[in-house]
């Protein structure tokens, strides 16, 4: 750990020309000291948790390093080192759950994923049968996400463009405010809304389309908010340069502003897709679920991966629980793939 921590000390700063510097050995010594101190603490007051061992050792290292640096290199450098270590720790801390969650999904899911699993449905699979697959759910999820993105992304981008480029005054503030409020809407309420509005009031039957509508509601605030943030960050000089060349405002927005912000916007869209791809509750009420393949999102019940995971994970049979983990792995890989594709596409489209 201490070796990684030292790395940035060699990068630019201009500080290294004068004054003394903590050597790598000193930092290693502090690191070792922190671990030893934690072990001692462990002996004095029993600690029966690994998490906490790491936390205490990290905190001790942080203190030791700051004190040492403060004495040798001066206060400014000490603070810099402190923050550097803190940032590294934050990243490592985030990696722990990520690795843990992914490891359990991969470990439990990989053994069940196979060509058969990806290409068969659950039709005629009884409770004890080990067979069956996710093809029907995969088809459903892809179609529902595609539809939801089709509705949500252009709409949300228009809203964001309005808010950033045109919006002044009360309407714009109101819209911006309610976008944030929409993020707090429990996903099941979005499902209930579509249920009562589209399925009951308009007397439609459950379908992939109804599910996509519910997912659209959940995607909108994320896409609007992130697009808005990215558009705001496009430097005004770019707009002004474009106007100076006599380019009309709308063309400036579509040709200069949006493409400049595109990588960030794509990140936002992918986050929104990732978020809704794993939503169970709104789909339960709107797409009904189906064990057989249904390619048509506009007619007849469909299944979806999160719904599939949810129902299989709750079953008593181990074969079903195995299917749930394998489906979860597939879902993560799927979102990853879509995200990677979107990034590549965004790079192509980027204005250089």
């Amino acid at each position: 750990m201490s070796t990684t921590t030292i790395a940035p000390a060699t990068s630019p700063g201009g500080m290294d020309l004068t004054g003394q510097k903590l050597s790598l050995t000193t930092l290693a010594a502090i690191g070792a000291g922190a671990v030893v101190a934690t072990v001692l603490l462990y002996v004095v007051a029993p600690i029966d948790s690994k998490i906490q061992f790491v936390l205490i050792a990290g905190a001790l290292y942080l203190i030791g390093q700051s004190v040492a640096s403060g004495m040798v290199e001066g206060a400014r450098k000490a603070v810099d080192r402190f923050v550097t270590t803190l940032v590294y720790l934050a990243f490592l801390l985030a990696l722990i759950p990520l690795v843990a969650v992914l490891a359990s999904v991969i470990a439990k899911g990989a053994q069940r994923v196979s060509y058969d699993f990806l290409t068969t449905s659950m039709r005629n699979i009884g409770a004890r049968d080990a067979g069956g697959g996710i093809y029907h759910a995969l088809v459903g999820t892809l179609e529902q996400i595609a539809l939801a993105s089709l509705f949500a992304v252009p709409f949300s981008m228009l809203v964001a463009i309005y808010l950033v480029e045109y919006g002044r005054g009360r309407i714009s503030r109101t819209i911006s405010f309610f976008v944030d409020v929409l993020t707090g809407l429990p996903s099941v309420i979005a499902g209930l809304f579509i249920l009562s509005f589209y399925l009951l009031a308009l007397n439609q039957n459950p379908s992939g389309f109804a599910g996509a509508l519910a997912l659209t509601i959940l995607m909108i605030p994320i896409v609007v908010r992130s697009t808005e943030e990215m558009l705001k960050l496009v430097p005004n000089e770019l707009r002004e340069a474009s106007y100076a060349l006599g380019v009309a405002r709308w063309r400036t927005i579509l040709k200069i502003v949006v493409p400049t912000a595109l990588p960030g916007i794509v990140t936002g869209v992918m986050l929104a897709v990732a978020r809704v791809a794993g939503e169970t509750a709104p789909l339960l009420l709107t797409i009904f679920g189906n064990d057989a393949i249904n390619f048509n999102p506009f007619s007849g019940p469909q299944s979806a991966l999160p719904l599939y995971i949810y129902s299989q994970a709750g079953a008593p049979q181990q074969v079903a629980v195995d299917r749930a983990w394998a489906a979860a792995l597939t879902l993560i890989v799927l979102v990853m793939l879509l995200s990677a594709i979107a990034r590549v596409a965004a790079r192509f489209a980027r204005v250089r």
Partner: protein
Amino acid sequence: MNIGKRQVAVMGLAMSAVLGVAACGSDNNTASPSSTAGTATGAISCATGSIVASGSTAQKNAMDEWVKKYQTACSGSTINYQAVGSAAGKQAFVDGKIDFAGSDSAISGDQATSAAKRCTGGQLVNLPMVAGPVAVIYNLAGVKDLQLSAATLAKIYSGAITKWNDPVIAADNPGLTLPSTTIVSVHRSDGSGTTDNLTKYLAGAAASDWTFASGSDWKAPGGQGSKGSDGVTATVKATAGAIGYVELSFAENASLSTAKIKNGAGEYVAVSTEATSKGVSTAKVAPAPDLKLTFDYTATTPGAYPIYLVTYEITCTQGLAASQATLVKSFLTYTSSTNGQAAIADLGYAPLPTDLASKVSSVVATIS
């Protein structure tokens, strides 16, 4: 916008690649022959078409099995049952979105009135179809064959008893050494027919110790909630001193100890499907066609396991669309037949007592 076009093209290409990976998906899962399929299919008189149904999660495994057997025997039929919960299923039936509802409790009151509007010319019926025991599971190292009476169970779940070595528990278990571990009582945090039937049992067999109302929501204070039977099972398994209640198949699959429960005859009966069938046979059946059951927890039938749940199929004898009605009738005829009931016996369900099953069959026969 030529930039956009290129982007769209790349996206489209990638999307089709993703779909292409599994482009040859199939619904054909009949390749693996099931050992019992041959014997069961002979009796089915097939109908074709497709119906949708939803409701009780407790009968999901039974439905999956029946649907599989039925669809295998009758090509051209599709039955889509989704386990969304009993109340949601009943509501969907009232809303006219499904052809029959599976439910842990009979439909009644306002809901029955609005549902009956669908049954023009016929009647709204509750058909008992799937019965099963509620197992009491516990996690107590070294303690096997725990025996509990209704009163003791009520005291545990109401919080009147907090330690496993409490004299009340010891009185039920002569000769058993009990640890002083704190009892962690685990109940369902989501609304559930299992909770409904356990609390009905506690209220019916130990009224003086169980002062909380029965129902699908847990009403007693204290204890820990857990979502779904899988959640209860996981929590009990992970917590020393925990006790919980789940459907039999969850207890068996998690290999957790189950308690013997004292019945009206004074015996401590281990949980089993046969003992449950005996228990269900003590229930009072409402006159046909609406075969609602009323449980009698004080019946003195020997060998009967007293905590069970019976789930219903709710549908109309007339008023469904003609094509759907034929398939509903054909499917429910199969499920209430001896073959149908036998098909689900090793999934932790108890076959309906024969006279009850034949009453159900005769009501199903009137569907048109």
